[in-house]
């Protein structure tokens, strides 16, 4: 490996500095809002810290909650690299979770490791198949993937509502939820953490982050994927099939989201399928990826940040009676600030010397093309 150049280091430094600035402004906004509702920011900060990382139990909860967010973020990163705009993560999380729950409920007498594996696989398959509808519509009918994936989210929510009232309904008091999952399907947790809040699936974060980087940079699939995302026409002219690549990318992305659905159910604190188990993970996962600038490693950290906002918001509500919507406000603020920072960065880049433009040797060389642009 060649050492990174000074320019690359400076860019990295600038990026970290931006993230720091975003964090500071967010904190400032939080402080102002807290002051406005009459809560001392320092007391709130104490409560926030206690709720998120103050005790091993709470830290375990925070990290475990970061995993589904991170998985969805990986799904976004895959489709983004392939140049596809797929936003059907809520639906894929839901369907992946339903598939995993359907399998898990049948796993009463299956030994634990196998049952866990089966549930995870079912989740991935469910998410991939749901995303497969999007991929099929795009590849065969040319339906824009952003539209179909967005609309399928609504369908998925209705499917879930039907399942928990119909085929998978299993609670004794006729609530719209399934029976409790068998013990053998629950994902194991670190025994050293009191309350068993830290699931082993946090190990998925570094493993999958590195795995995805390797797949993207070291396999011919990853190469085709990036080539199609980089310049779809050039990819086609070079003999890469961008449609096949796009379909695979969308399915893989759905598999990540489906796994997130399984993780929500089998590593969470509520071991049954219910309406609303998705809890906004699908769209927040996109924000996690964007905040990490589509870097799988960065997404590990931004996922933890988002999870801690969630968990901390809950503890603020219970301890200080601060509305938990504060969390949504702050998450929204983070997204807007990141976008602003990105816009500023783009403007900066366009004022510094741009890439060498193609020499305008023949401005009128291609009359056909030129006239079209002039119109």
């Amino acid at each position: 490996m060649t050492p990174p150049s000074a320019a690359a280091l400076r860019a990295l430094g600038l990026r970290l500095l931006t993230q720091l600035a975003v964090a500071l402004v967010t904190l400032l906004m939080a402080a102002l809002i807290l002051l406005a509702i009459g809560v001392s920011p320092t007391v709130a900060a104490d409560a926030f810290w206690a709720g998120t990382f103050g005790s091993p139990t709470n830290a375990g909860t925070t990290l475990t909650q970061a995993v589904p967010l991170f998985l969805v973020a990986l799904g976004w990163i895959v489709t983004d690299k392939a140049g596809r705009l797929q936003v059907g993560f809520p639906g894929q999380v839901v369907i992946g979770g339903c598939a995993a729950a359907a399998v898990g409920l049948q796993c009463e007498n299956v030994p634990a490791p196998l049952a866990v594996m089966l549930c995870a696989a079912a989740g991935m398959l469910g998410g991939a198949l749901w995303a497969g509808i999007v991929a099929w519509l795009w590849a065969s009918r040319g339906v824009l993937e952003i539209v179909s994936s967005l609309l399928l989210n609504l369908v998925a929510i209705q499917v879930l509502a039907w399942l928990v009232r119909g085929p998978l309904q299993g609670s004794l008091d006729q609530q719209p939820q399934s029976a409790d999952f068998p013990e053998s399907t629950r994902w194991p947790a670190f025994p050293s953490v009191p309350g068993l809040t830290l699931s082993y699936d946090v190990l998925l974060m570094p493993v999958l982050a590195v795995g995805l980087i390797v797949v993207l940079s070291r396999t011919s699939f990853g190469f085709s994927l990036r080539a199609s995302g980089g310049n779809v026409t050039a990819a086609r002219w070079q003999g890469i099939d961008p449609v096949r690549t796009g379909v695979r990318a969308i399915a893989l992305s759905g598999a990540f989201a489906g796994l997130a659905g399984a993780a929500l159910l089998f590593a969470g604190s509520a071991p049954w399928l219910s309406e609303g188990f998705e809890a906004g993970i699908g769209f927040n996962g996109i924000a996690v990826a964007l905040l990490a600038r589509n870097s799988p490693v960065g997404a590990m950290f931004t996922a933890v940040v988002f999870a801690s906002l969630n968990v901390g918001g809950t503890s603020l509500q219970s301890l200080l009676d601060v509305p938990s919507t504060l969390t949504s406000v702050l998450q929204g603020a983070v997204i807007v600030l990141v976008l602003v920072a990105a816009a500023v960065a783009v403007r900066r880049r366009s004022t510094t010397p741009p890439e060498p433009a193609p020499a305008p040797a023949e401005p009128s060389g291609r009359v056909t093309a030129a006239a079209g642009q002039g119109a």
Partner: protein, 520 residues
């Protein structure tokens, strides 16, 4: 320069000038697209603007219509000096252009398209006024529109007519037609020619951009020829001949033929027979981009394809890559039938392509140089085994090729988009020539390159020939075709107009074939 202007034409004095350009110069960086161009168009006149591709016609008309601002020189409309900063200002001054690609909204009706336009109150429904204007235009010129028909349902010539009506409704009195016959059938062209004459007789000024001699002689009163951005001649059509005009267009430059060994024709590299391709795949009865084209190319040979842009070159390349389905014809690559056509099978058959539009189809700007050089090598052994890439080997191969093809970059990890145009093209050549292809299709391979890089590209193409490979050189630059080719096929309007041996090809002969009467 323009020694034959106005004075030669007795009518020039009586007609007042509609549009007068004096000393208009436009530069793009170091490149001069228009060099002190003088042009005068009178009211009631059809003025033909002629020139090869790259001669500066489009740039000049973009200046006239306010899309570009000239660096030097003045423009006067109806005797008054003007300086357009925006296209709307040119339109307000009465200058309208009928583009090759129409500026209509296909999903709206013809009337709604007419009603669209810059207005002070965006809320007002302009349809009624538009209909009134269209009616008055019809009574003046006989141009009838079908108000309630969607533009998408109209034919090409009907759309063109609507475009003209639109300009007239907006008060255009100087009408510029940019190669209007490109998409028309001969009958439709006849109608359009009559219309141009009628507009001129009604007192409008008409500028016709074309390189078809028959059209120019059929409708134009006067002409101006551009060559290399400057005026090569102008005068009255009645006082000139076809041969004269062709010579003014292509010039008589000294031909620099490259030294090289005699052709050692090897194995067949490319054979095309009876290839016909539609211009628009959705219009099976529409015009053909390629009509019964045949080519024969053997190893150790460079076959040049000369022709103005739009003669079917792009369609030929896309058909070879399998991106266009021909209506008839057979292709053989490297001596074997090439039936199942796709980009990957083209490369597998021994073909390679230096595409014209490098940025759009030939490279990945955001990816590294080594990835770009190895795009196809990264999809088979030895760089890929069991779908796993060997980056060290790929980088090594890229470094070797960068040295061989003199690609200058900080390292093989540099993003392709950060390289200069010449180095990008060298990297593309490295990718395309490194596989020892039986056939290289090179389209405008030196477009936008400086002298040194151009020389390098030519040398590499001649190397390919020397080692027994074949080169299909498609170019709109006659000098390039003349200096490199062993044989030259002249393509015009999708047909092969002639095949010349390099020894007896001259600019004049090729130029005459290029602009010879259209295939009927």
């Amino acid at each position: 320069m323009s020694t034959t202007t106005s004075g030669a034409d007795p009518r020039a004095g009586t007609r007042s000038s509609a549009l007068r350009l004096s000393g208009v110069t436009k530069r793009f960086g170091g490149f001069t697209a228009n060099d002190a161009v003088d042009l005068e168009v009178g009211w009631g006149e059809v003025h033909a603007l002629l020139g090869e591709n790259g001669a500066g016609k489009t740039t000049l008309m973009r200046i006239v219509t306010g899309l570009y601002q000239p660096d030097e020189g003045t423009i006067a409309v109806d005797g008054e000096e003007v300086a357009f900063r925006r296209p709307e200002q040119a339109l307000r001054a009465g200058i309208g252009m009928v583009h090759q690609h129409f500026t209509l909204v296909p999903t709206l009706t013809e009337l709604e398209n007419l009603a669209m336009g810059p207005s002070l109150l965006p809320l007002r429904d302009g349809r009624r006024t538009a209909l009134e204007r269209a009616t008055s235009v019809e009574s003046e010129t006989g141009l009838r529109i079908t108000p309630d028909r969607r533009v998408a349902d109209a034919s090409i010539s009907e759309r063109q007519r609507l475009e003209i009506v639109k300009l007239l409704c907006r008060g255009a009195r100087i009408l510029i037609f940019d190669e209007p016959s490109a998409a028309l059938t001969p009958d439709e062209w006849e109608d359009l020619a009559r219309l141009m004459r009628r507009l001129a007789d009604d007192g409008h000024a008409v500028v016709l951009i074309s390189h078809k001699m028959s059209e120019v002689f059929a409708v134009a009163d006067r002409f101006t020829v551009l060559r290399g951005g400057a005026v090569a001649g102008s005068g009255a059509i009645a006082e000139t001949t076809r041969e004269d005009l062709v010579e003014q267009m292509v010039g008589e430059s000294v031909e620099i033929r490259r030294e090289r060994g005699p052709v050692q024709a090897g194995r067949p590299a490319l054979a095309v027979r009876g290839l016909s391709v539609l211009r628009d795949a959705d219009q099976p009865r529409g015009p053909r981009a390629l009509d019964d084209v045949g080519l024969d190319l053997r190893g150790g040979e460079i076959l040049g394809i000369a022709g103005v842009a739009g003669s079917g070159q792009a369609e030929l390349v896309e058909t070879l890559l399998g991106l266009r389905i021909p209506v008839a014809g057979e292709i053989e690559v490297a001596g074997r039938p090439y039936v199942d056509r796709s980009p990957s099978s083209f490369y597998a058959a021994g073909g390679s392509l230096v595409a014209e539009d490098r940025h759009h189809v030939g490279m990945f700007g955001s990816m590294t140089l080594w990835e770009n050089i190895n795009v196809r090598a990264l999809r088979r052994p030895p760089l890929v085994r069991r779908n796993v890439i060997d980056p060290a080997a790929a980088r090594h191969r890229a470094r070797d090729l960068m040295a061989e093809f003199e690609v200058r970059a900080t390292s093989e990890n540099q993003a392709m988009g950060r390289l200069s145009g010449g180095n990008q093209q060298k990297a593309v050549l490295a990718r395309e020539l490194s596989t020892q292809p039986a056939l290289v299709v090179a389209v405008q391979p030196v477009r936008g390159l400086d002298v040194r890089a151009t020389e390098f590209v030519y040398r590499r193409l001649l190397d390919q020939r020397a080692r027994g490979g074949a080169v299909l050189l498609i170019s709109m630059d006659l000098d390039e075709v003349l200096s490199l080719s062993d044989r030259i096929v002249v393509l015009a309007h999708g047909r092969v107009q002639g095949v010349l041996d390099a020894a007896d090809a001259t600019r004049a002969r090729i130029g005459a074939l290029m602009t010879s009467r259209e295939a009927s």
